[in-house]
Point group: C2
Chain length 139, copies 2
DNA sequence: ACGCAAATGCAACAATGTTGCAAAATAATT
DNA sequence: AATTATTTTGCAACATTGTTGCATTTGCGT
């Protein structure tokens, strides 16, 4: 088991349960983003569908993961950088979704460019959703 | 009825039906984006739910409207600039979603900033999803 | 080990989206 | 203008996705 799992749960005042450990482990292992369906498939019959929904919801509330806006409006989640332990707010993000393999990357290290909007719009968050082909799918 | 409606349908080789006229009119009147639910409510019992789904799908295929990625992963549609009559591909877009009133704006005239990705990623589309408070909701 | 609080599983439900097919509306042809 | 061919619609049924309430189970602090 990944060493950070118990730490992360404790730090967020969550009880250490099988589903939380397993789901968090999935995020730590797989670098890309996960959809609810991915988790359901990978965990087999181990957890109830409802438990997965509630676990994801809890993780989002605690800032352990965040949702990703995608071009096809499918709901995906990715680990927050540094587990958001610092109250980090995810105001800016660049995400990349591969048109071929469907993998979604959370590019925390890419700088979000400044966006200039017409007068009257107050910006609180900027999400950049890039599609194309990824490292593995070059062609 | 908006004068562009019949033109647009004909240009895209679509038969002129009540639902298509009405739904296209909604997009032309309302400047912001529409969700399936908005259309369903506004049209009352006039059209079947399935018809609305199919009409939206057809419009997307013909390039009359496009879907908008949103921070909350709700599916919304907006008119394509120039009805995409020129085979315009919507490679770049800035969308704004108001946190207060929920209105979604399609800001065709705002320049999409350049995004620099790590080597190996090939960009085919960039969507910028901005949240905040809009013109009407300033505070 | 015990008791309390929290999380889980189950069932039922709600919302959203899809598919097949017969009936109706639109377009094309004569 | 009437007839035929094609497209679109409405209905029914179904699939998927997400939510809620409640009894049972699990984890946690003492």
């Amino acid at each position: 088991m990944h060493p950070r799992i118990v730490d992360t749960l404790k730090r967020n005042q969550l009880s250490i349960t099988d589903s939380r450990k397993k789901i968090l482990e999935m995020f730590l292992q797989k670098k890309g983003a996960l959809a609810h369906a991915d988790i359901e498939q990978q965990s087999g019959e181990e957890f109830d569908r409802v438990t997965i929904y509630r676990t994801l919801q809890t993780f989002v509330e605690k800032g352990i993961i965040h949702t990703i806006p995608t071009a096809d409006n499918s709901v995906r989640y990715a680990l927050c950088k540094d587990d958001c332990s610092e109250g980090h707010h995810h105001d800016n993000h660049v995400h990349f979704m591969c048109d071929h393999c469907g993998t979604t990357y959370c590019l925390d290290h890419v700088t979000v460019p400044a966006v200039v909007l017409p007068a009257g719009f107050k910006i609180s968050q900027v999400d950049v959703v890039v599609s194309g082909s990824c490292l593995k799918c070059q062609q």
